[in-house]
Amino acid sequence: MEISKAIRRVDNDEKVSGIAKFIADVKLEGMLYAKTLRSTRPRARIKSIKIPKLPNGYFIVDKNDVPANNRVKLIFTDQPFFAEDVVNYIGEPILLVVGPDKAKVLEILEQIEVEYEDLEPIFTIEDAESGTKPPIFGDDNLFADYEFTKGDPDAAFARAYRIIEGEYRTGIQEHIYLEPQGMLATYEDGTVTVYGSMQCPFYVKNALVYALGWPEDRVRVVQTTTGGGFGGKEDYPSLIAGHAAFAAIKTGRPVQLILDRTEDIEATTKRHPSIIRHRTALDASGRIIAMEIDIKLDGGAYATLSPVVLQRSMFVSTGPYHIPNVRVRGRAYATNNVPRTAFRGFGAPQSIFAVEMHMTNIAEALGENPIDFKMRYFLKKGDDTATGGSVHTDVKLDEMTRQVIEMSNFYEKFERFRKEKGDTVLRGIGFSAFLHGCGFTGKGEEVIKATAKLRRRDDGKVEILVSSVEIGQGAQTTLRKIVAFALGIPMEDVVYENPDTSRVPDSGPTVASRTVIIVGGLLEQAAKELKARWNESGEIEVIKTYRHPEYVRWDDEKFVGDAYPEYSWGVNVAEVEVDPVTFEVRVKKVWGVYDVGTPLDERVVRGQLEGGIVQAVGYATIEVMESKNGKLMQNTITDYIIPTSIDAPEIETRLVVSPYPYGPFGAKCLGELPMVGCAPAVAAAIQHALGLKVDEIPARPELLLKKWLEKSR
């Protein structure tokens, strides 16, 4: 399609030349700086806080400065903006020091003394499960506890010829967007305006309205150029936007709050670590007749988005496979760790890792090639999903798999590497197949009712008015392209400013790979209507509100039906080299074939695929984050290692297109898909190289060595 041809990114030049203004680059007249005093204890009661005498022009801002509700409004309202009587994780904000000189602010911060009375902390899922310690959240210490069933798994297990079990673990992952989080608030004429780095301007606005108890028209939120998000700037910005706003209201001056990197690592959200158990029933012919899956997530100290992360994790936990009988249990535990929330993939990378490794292990147990085994279970159009919904459009996994086999020369290498017993290097190759549910999970899109607006202005330009933001993923280019192509006008005639909640409708947050398929879809519809009305004189406005296609059915109580309106699909092959002495893993090459519907810009799509693959390679191998007594052992970029240009594997990707009739120009979802599925391909390749089970990621050398020694014992 013409629209698929790459064009120059609209934000290329301002970013390359350093002109783009990120929030730390904005300075206002009379602006003050804020720094946060944070808890140094994982769980404690605050007995007293001793504050030194403040010089003129310096302020303390704390829980008493929150006008209405000291709670960040999200799914629950358990998280305070500032700690009240207790702290629940190391890094939890207690108060701000605000003033004109940054160095002085830091000096005051260091003089503040907090006296704590330690309480019994809960650090791990096992800790939480034991039930011996006082709960952090509710009576059962669970942010969410769900179960759903399809078919009759009990009967299937009762008649099973063989049952194969496995337990899989995934680690904490930190976003490391290159731009640390930050906000700037002003208070003028009774209105508070917050500018900052964020994915979801209306999450921030709604949280502020609740905290302030003010009418909506006195709260305005404006997104500034955002240096990466990956989910880390989904809900966390609401908390610091509150901090900056309370400080601006108290001082009557603009207040800037920028986190330094260590603060950002220690205090902001993470990907949930998980423990996932699989039980699979096979009949006498070796065919899978049922799966039982038990997912446990460590949610950290506050609920954030854990219930929905858990839902996505559960809904895709059988992978891209058609399994007749299914039972999935899921629990998200409260612990005294830094809160976990959204991170590209949103619970899916954990459960896809588990099911992919488990399917690989079943194939090995049956003496089959994992690709051939997996291919037999691929979902097809018309099949029912794990939640008993339907696959409504074509699935091209067979073709995609054939392509990736050919690109990577999989079968030949699979046999050859197994026979090689290199002294200097052990080589392996692994395969994974996966899917991603497009848009919000379950009832999300029905609740948010995304609204998008197009306005043809008096100057002839067409303006996009949505709350979706550019965070690097290419929204500025792609959404403009949808409108320009649908209207048949030049790109330069389409205007799309960074969203300002006082000017744009709520098209929902910039999350869940929903920006193109949902918001882009609304813009395409709006553009078509605008085109039909093009000859009208003067300004024209067209507003569209999202509704699922007629066929989508979902029961949010029982978790039955279409958890997502549509799916994107992918397959990966990864080739690795493992050093037999140090057990260091080098991911040599990753091949990928994806179906994301019509690509709206082939270069933007490729950028998302390659970036997602490298994040997943990091997740699978080197991104180690450990916590000891609630304290992160890696709190700098020196210690928490993400892939560099030397670590990044060679990548070769292809697209297979199955257009989605309800997506703009046939597009589906893209951003999360490559992150969701690549880690198990890497882990399977390591497993193949070493001939041992890689049931835990990151597969760091220490872990591999331990398993190697156990194996050779």
């Binding site: 990114r9 030349s17 730390a24 990466g228 560099t644 240009s645 990044a648």
Partner: protein
């Protein structure tokens, strides 16, 4: 202490503590916001500038060290012909996503190409290994550098 140096081709002078980070002097005294702070410990490369033509992380350089030397930031570099070649190569290869790391990467690429105008893939990867990018996965940046080396042949 009064510190004099050449900044983006102009003689400048600032009166600050010599231990102040060059990064802060550039951003706060000279308003050069293209120099970004990503980590403050010399790991991410977002604050990369050229010191006598060589890429350095400006967060690790005390300003006293640049006395009498040449400092170039993206703001000075973007006026050059070589920059225009990189700008177009980055667009064509899809090397930019969120853009926070990009100005620092541009400075690192200048440092690399000025030493080695025709680098191999391996040399490019090594040359950029001090600059983190969380969005692109790097390969498209490596391609941009190759493209620039080719299109800008003779400039470096």
């Amino acid at each position: 202490m009064k510190i004099e140096f050449e900044l983006n081709g102009q003689k400048v002078s600032v009166d600050v503590e010599p231990t102040m980070r060059l990064l802060d002097v550039l951003r706060e005294h000279f308003g050069l916001i293209g120099v970004k702070e990503g980590c403050g410990e010399g790991e991410c490369g977002s604050c990369t500038v050229l010191l006598d033509g060589k890429a350095v992380p400006s967060c690790l350089v005390p300003v006293g060290m640049v006395m009498g030397r040449r400092v170039m930031t993206i703001e000075g570099y973007r006026k050059t012909k070589k920059f225009k070649v990189l700008l177009d190569a980055f667009a064509e290869a899809g090397a930019v996503q969120c853009g926070f790391c990009t100005p620092g990467i541009i400075m690192a690429v200048e440092s690399l190409l000025s030493e080695n105008p025709h680098p191999t893939d391996e040399e490019i990867r090594r040359g950029l290994s001090g600059n983190l990018c969380r969005c692109t996965g790097y390969n498209m940046i490596v391609n941009a550098v190759k493209l620039a080396a080719q299109k800008g042949a003779g400039l470096w």
